[in-house]
Symmetry: C2
DNA sequence: TTTTGGGTGTTACAATATATCATTCATCAG
DNA sequence: CTGATGAATGATATATTGTAACACCCAAAA
């Protein structure tokens, strides 16, 4: 789901506003990395970001990318897909939320969902156990609706 | 939570029974890796397993460990903690279930939970989206009850 | 016996991530 | 303005995690 220019600009501007509010610095580099993540046609790995960054900045090294990613993660502007070692832009960075993803192993499609049911059950589990989550990770690895249909056809 | 000898033997025997039922081969190597994972004092990385394996088998290489881990994962005898790149024994390998973990960043403690609420909400989300999960990953990264208390004291 | 398929041994390598130290830059107290 | 402070960046090297590829072994089937 490649973003068009307009929504990309919107996202970047929104990020800038958020960071200003929070009094943290969205530097040019961090902004550029956010742009690359959001403009990517799906989840993108750190080294792929690094490659694309080379076309803008002179000879960046891995730490450059990882530092920017760390910042963006902390600010909730992107999510990390732990099971893919890849990053995606957050579709609603305003409010903090559990990162919930449906990841199709067949077509590679990744979809962020925001199920209040899941959020509630996670909250309840925390209440029951006294655990306090800072970064909830929910990743459902499987087959998306579309791929199930096309798989069925083949059989 | 280091296991005592008795429960470790029990787990291994149980695994053997399960594999026999399923007509898959729990070879000595696979069994040994399962033992190492279960006997470990918490989540254990592949290369740590490799090191400990050296004390039993002559000069094993990474693929040896990863192959065994793949098998054990498929059989649901262990879980992979994606956010830690580490493995833990499953506390109830009889029935398939969503892997749900509370991971304390302060003390490193990892606890597998089996919340039916979470399981239900995941099922519901799949129903709503038409997605079919093969491997659900739920990892709550945060602070356990005990660490919250001791952290509070310090402040 | 030949074939076949799963499991293993071995080497080399790919992909992901971090440690460390030097340098730059904005900010602010004096 | 000046020097001090801390955050951000640059740069090099290295650690950690995970696979590809190919040869070999062995048990079960044909
Ligand atoms: Zn999000
Ligand atoms: Zn799909
Ligand atoms: Zn389990
Ligand atoms: Zn703790």
């Amino acid at each position: 789901m490649a973003l068009n220019q307009k929504s990309l600009a919107k996202i970047l501007q929104h990020a800038e506003t958020l960071c200003k509010q929070r009094e943290v610095r969205l530097t040019p580099q961090r902004s550029k990395v956010l742009e690359l993540v959001c403009a990517a046609d799906g989840p993108i790995g750190a080294y792929e970001i690094l490659d694309r960054l080379r076309q803008t900045i002179g000879n960046p090294a891995p730490p450059t990318v990882y530092r920017a990613l760390d910042f963006l993660l902390e600010q909730g502007l992107i999510h990390k897909l732990e099971s893919l070692h890849a990053y995606v832009g957050c579709s609603h960075p305003d409010h903090p939320h559990a990162s919930q993803f449906l990841i199709c192993s067949d077509c590679g499609d990744v979809r962020e969902i925001e199920s209040s049911g899941i959020a509630d059950s996670l909250r309840q589990a925390q209440k029951n156990t006294g655990f306090k989550a800072k970064r909830p990770v929910v990743e459902l690895l499987g087959t998306c609706a579309r791929c199930q249909i096309s798989n069925d056809r083949k059989v």
